[in-house]
Symmetry: C2
């Protein structure tokens, strides 16, 4: 039996799964802390893959979802949050040598988009916009049945689009990006700033603050907490209108932890979207849905990546 | 000999050209006012096409570049500036019946992008961002050797992307679009507003004002005129950085009348772009050039559209 190995490099953990080609259920699944024990992240990655390696049959390829910018064409990790030593790391080649089988890497939001399109909420669509809203904001786009990659493989960085030039600083250091206004930390930052400015809120007592707590407070009637989500939703709506004008998708899939706040975020987002779309046709038959693969989106996308690459190779003429 | 007929629906004129398949030089070229004589725009369009119809050989197809939103899949003009009676007009089907040959339509900025890619400044690139800056701002994008169209065929409306939510109103009625800040009329509007606010300028005496005049004044040392281009260039740079993060092209092609202001606009644009790109890799090997097909971009793009469609049809399995 043939298998695909899928790997998801997360913020704190590495995950690996072995999928039989004929099934979407992993044969084996393994999760390990990036810095578990005294081993390097690369050693832990080897262990994760070895742990799921199928005892019988062969592995056709390994696909890896990596947060942060990668060069998918060369298989290099340029840099990735939480693993500072992975800078300009030829990860795909190294894995390929270690396991004697082909390996590919791709940005994790791109792969989540690919996963949701192939196996999840966006099945059957040809033009898909995927946004993940959590600690950061990432994007992935399917255009006419193909993943948008770009010349350097760094397209669809939809969190780093300027929606308010005078706005707050983004994690990347630049002002006014969508991520700086509508990500989880941005929502928390807004609440904090307002409270320091004297606005009262039930959240004043919370020593640490998460977007989840802000959502809970909003549901319990906290005015500032509601405003924080309305503000994030408004800018998401403005950005989403621009993304419709840019990509004209037939479905928008919203993933990531902050998406689970549901209508707290989506209601103001959709209201703003209606106001900000410059032609009603963009909204005709447009679906706006939440992601359906949950935590598995990256793994499923990594699996889809290998499927795609193997298919490409099959169609390539002999050299 | 086989031919392609290309048509460009301009602001005030209709143009048609007949290209032998084997040549980029039109056999015939015809230009007529949209409302010439007492004829309707459709009648003038028929006359333009008849005037270039090759006396010998056959016509394989007709391609039409239309300003404003179209449905390229159904061949409908949804609406187009300057021809108010063309609303929801099934133009492709009508032309096809009139001339007994296949016909296709597409947004003019998309076709200018296709033309510049196939025959002009962007030849050999796989990922192309085309921006035309004139009365409006239009966009066209090539992604991995294919024109970006979208689910309704309305993608790449890059002038209608919000870069400043509190900014001036766009021609479409919404605030803060790139077109509202960096198009020719937007540059003129800024100069006018500043002069009404008491800012002195050599342009105060000009009864009518064009972006070209503002450019001329800037070159002659007029401070306000320079500022107007710096402001437009700044927002173009901010938008361009977002477009790099979104599409990651290997070339940016700038067309349209306002682009001819050259460094007046491009110098502040490039300076802002360098500041606004969140990863230096986007700029590696990136070319930023002016369009090379001039007025013919739409016609050449319409020709390329027909080539593409005929090729697609050839590859389609028999029904």
């Amino acid at each position: 039996m043939n298998h695909i190995i899928a790997v998801d490099i997360g913020g704190t953990h590495l995950r690996a799964a072995a999928y039989p080609l004929s099934s979407l259920e992993p044969l084996q699944h393994y999760r390990i802390k990036t810095y578990q024990g005294k081993r390097t992240p690369q050693q832990n990655l080897l262990q994760a893959i070895r742990s799921v390696w199928p005892p019988q049959g062969s592995v056709l390829g390994i696909g890896v979802a990596v947060p942060g910018p990668v060069d998918p064409y060369q298989g290099w990790v340029l840099s990735t949050p939480n693993i500072p030593e992975w800078r300009n790391l030829p990860l795909a080649q190294w894995l390929s040598e270690q396991f004697q089988c082909p390996a590919w890497i791709e940005n994790d939001a791109n792969l989540a988009a690919l996963g949701e399109w192939r196996y999840g909420a966006a099945q059957g669509h040809h033009d898909v916009l995927y946004l993940t809203i959590s600690t950061g904001i990432g994007g992935g786009v399917i255009i006419a049945d193909r993943l948008l990659r770009g010349a350097h493989g760094m397209a669809a960085e939809l969190g780093h689009v300027t929606v308010w030039p005078e706005g707050p600083l983004c994690s990347c250091g630049l002002p006014g990006h969508l991520e700086a206004i509508a990500s989880g930390p941005a929502i928390v930052r807004y609440v904090r700033e307002q409270m320091s400015g004297g606005v009262s809120s039930s959240l004043a007592k919370a020593p640490l603050l998460s977007a989840d707590q802000v959502a809970q407070a909003a549901r319990q009637g906290d005015v500032l907490a509601s405003q924080a989500f309305q503000r994030a939703g408004k800018y998401l709506g403005i950005a989403l209108a621009s993304f419709l004008h840019i990509f004209d998708p037939s479905i928008v899939v919203l993933g990531g932890g902050v998406s689970q706040s549901g209508d707290l975020l989506f209601q103001p987002m959709k209201e703003q979207l209606r106001q900000s779309v410059f032609h009603p046709r963009y909204l005709e038959r447009l679906q706006i849905v939440t992601a359906s693969l949950g935590d598995s989106a990256g793994l499923m996308g990594a699996r889809a990546l290998v499927e795609d690459q193997l298919h490409l190779q099959k169609n390539r003429p002999d050299p």
